[in-house]
Amino acid sequence: MSVHNADVVEARPAGEIALVDLLDRLLGAGVVLAGDVVISLAGIDLVQVRLHALIMTVRAGMDEPR
């Protein structure tokens, strides 16, 4: 694996954020409003969510014949 695609889950156009980097930020940072917002992500283990979703896909991709 080359250095240049070592940290991307899939190839993206130049300048675009790799999904794993985007999720670091969209799930780990950003403005969080308190109060009676309908959706409370506090109840979800985000690390687990993204690990689960992404690992399933990465594994599925690796199992495919090339």
Partner: protein
């Protein structure tokens, strides 16, 4: 079918006219709610897809997660190109506009502070990776030489690896120190799981830097210089991005 209001970002001075004709998640029109000098970018979403139960399911679906993250990022970038922008966390949803306004009032001072912090600045990502395989390979190669030789080789390999790890961590600290001085603010993020990022070796640095727009080129050049200065560490950089890591609200 019940609907909610999906919040993408808070900005200033963005009028409803400025987003006319722009589409957001699910193809819904992007809208602006103006309130006390703030402009919130929102769109209507179906709670059958974005309600709490649906989200638990959908967040586990990579295709859905990626489409939503990309759609969110598209709107954040649209806003960031037009002025100071504080991105919301993914899937921040209110029942109606009254809920949006109430939330804005609750966090008004902190949002204003966050916008002031990121104005005229962008985020850069820098990562460093250390090789991990070399020491183990040496131990295996010498392993055939018999008991005492094997133990000596193994001890040397363990010590070698420890020295290599310490050197890699020292390099990461140095990169971070130098780059932090060029940045207005910096944050260390947890190392990424190699199963997600596909990287080889150990991620010794996963950091975000808030950099003045005028200093962006100088920052990128400094990353390149540091990468040349530390050929043992693999260094990668990304940016300029919207200031995702730096628009967090301080505790009230």
């Amino acid at each position: 079918m019940s609907e909610g209001r999906y919040l993408y970002a808070v900005t200033r001075d963005l009028s409803p006219d400025a987003v006319a004709g722009t589409r957001a998640l699910g193809g819904s029109p992007l809208e602006v709610i103006e309130h006390r000098g703030l402009s919130v970018l929102v769109s209507t979403v179906d709670l059958d897809e974005f309600g709490e139960d649906a989200l638990r399911r959908n967040l586990e679906d990579l295709a859905w997660l990626e489409a939503t993250a990309r759609g969110h990022d598209d709107v954040v970038r649209f806003a960031a190109e037009r002025g100071a922008t504080a991105p919301m966390r993914l899937v921040t949803i209110c029942l109606d506009d009254a809920g949006v306004l109430a939330r804005l009032d609750d966090s008004y001072d902190q949002i204003v502070q966050a916008l002031a912090r990121v104005e005229g600045r962008t985020e850069w990502s820098v990562k460093a990776f250390a090789p991990t395989a070399a020491a183990e390979e040496r131990a295996t190669a010498v392993g055939a030489g018999g008991g005492a030789a094997y133990l000596r080789a193994r001890k040397a390999a363990v010590e070698g690896r420890r020295a290599q790890d310490e050197a890699a961590m020292a390099t990461a600290e140095e990169l971070h120190d130098v780059l932090s001085r060029l940045a207005v603010a910096s944050r260390r993020l947890p190392p990424q799981d190699p199963r997600l990022s596909g990287h080889e070796g150990r991620m010794t640095l996963n950091a975000a830097y808030l950099v003045d727009e005028a200093d962006g080129d100088a920052f990128a050049r400094e990353v390149e210089r540091l990468a040349r200065e530390h050929p043992d560490a693999r260094v990668s950089a990304g940016g300029p991005w919207p200031p995702y890591s730096f628009a967090t609200l301080e505790d009230a």
